[in-house]
Symmetry: C2
Subunit: 143 residues, 2 copies
DNA sequence: TTAGATGCAAATAGTTTGCATTTGT
DNA sequence: ACAAATGCAAACTATTTGCATCTAA
């Protein structure tokens, strides 16, 4: 690492969990953050390769797995089958609408789930740390 | 088709959407219904093969895609990376808790999202038909 | 009868692994 | 200094495709 860069809070989380801040990891994180999530592994691979072709595919996958295991990202399924889409989990939660016709993603804030989460924690004796909420339907252009 | 069997409501939906009720399709549907969803494609392949080894892999995948496109099932991501898990969407929605430690799935009813959905439809001019809600956290045994 | 679906096997992704080398801390 | 992480390329898995055949409607 030759340059001194701003470390994103997520990079700090990585380091605090005892992992090294390598070029490969910071680049992957950077790509995800610059695209606000919703990237397939293929897209991450491509972006990373564009920024630094010396980074190997394997490291990208290893980083995605690592970030997933730390709940920094969450793999999700959008379209039909195949590739997952990696979603950043800013505060441990994420929600969006997927248009089942054009596959557009519409983000929205305030999902109002905290009450539901609290009730579930109480009733089922679980400890919830995050959630993913996807609505499916038709967007304004497709309805 | 030699036997007269009860057609599940989902099979009826398939037929009403203009698709043939073939042995391969009915078998896949059967497997999913008997396991209440949460099967990976590999598990579906295995079960189908056990029931009728003459059904080809390709047809299983084609059926999973078809069921997905009809919103009868929804691919979802549970553990780290790789294979999706197919979840039945009984009434167009599904919700569960994933234990991030032991990967146990805890189902629950009544997610109380209809009010939120209605509000979003109004505000964003979308038409919502279903949703998937996943909570992440620790189950009672892991907390 | 016939468009739609199938099974097969080969082709194509997509992801992981082993290992010698490099790099953060 | 040294455990942790890397890049490479080969091995593996998982999924898709093309096509002749079959079958539900």
């Amino acid at each position: 690492m030759s340059e001194i860069e701003e470390l994103s809070p997520r990079a700090v989380r990585l380091r605090e969990a005892g992992h090294k801040l390598t070029n490969a990891r910071l680049t992957v994180l950077n790509v995800l953050e610059n695209h606000d999530g919703h990237l397939t592994s293929a897209e991450v691979l491509e972006q990373v390769d564009q920024i630094d072709p010396s980074i190997g595919r394997a490291s990208v996958f290893r980083t995605l797995d690592l970030l997933t295991s730390l709940s920094i990202i969450r793999p999700t399924y959008m379209n039909s089958s195949m590739t997952p889409t990696y979603v950043l989990m800013p505060d441990g939660h994420h929600h969006h609408i997927v248009c089942t016709n054009c596959n557009r993603i519409i983000e929205f804030e305030n999902c109002g789930l905290s009450a539901i989460a609290a009730e579930l924690e109480e009733r089922l004796h679980v400890k919830l740390t995050g959630h993913l909420l996807e609505f499916y339907g038709l967007c304004d252009k497709c309805s």
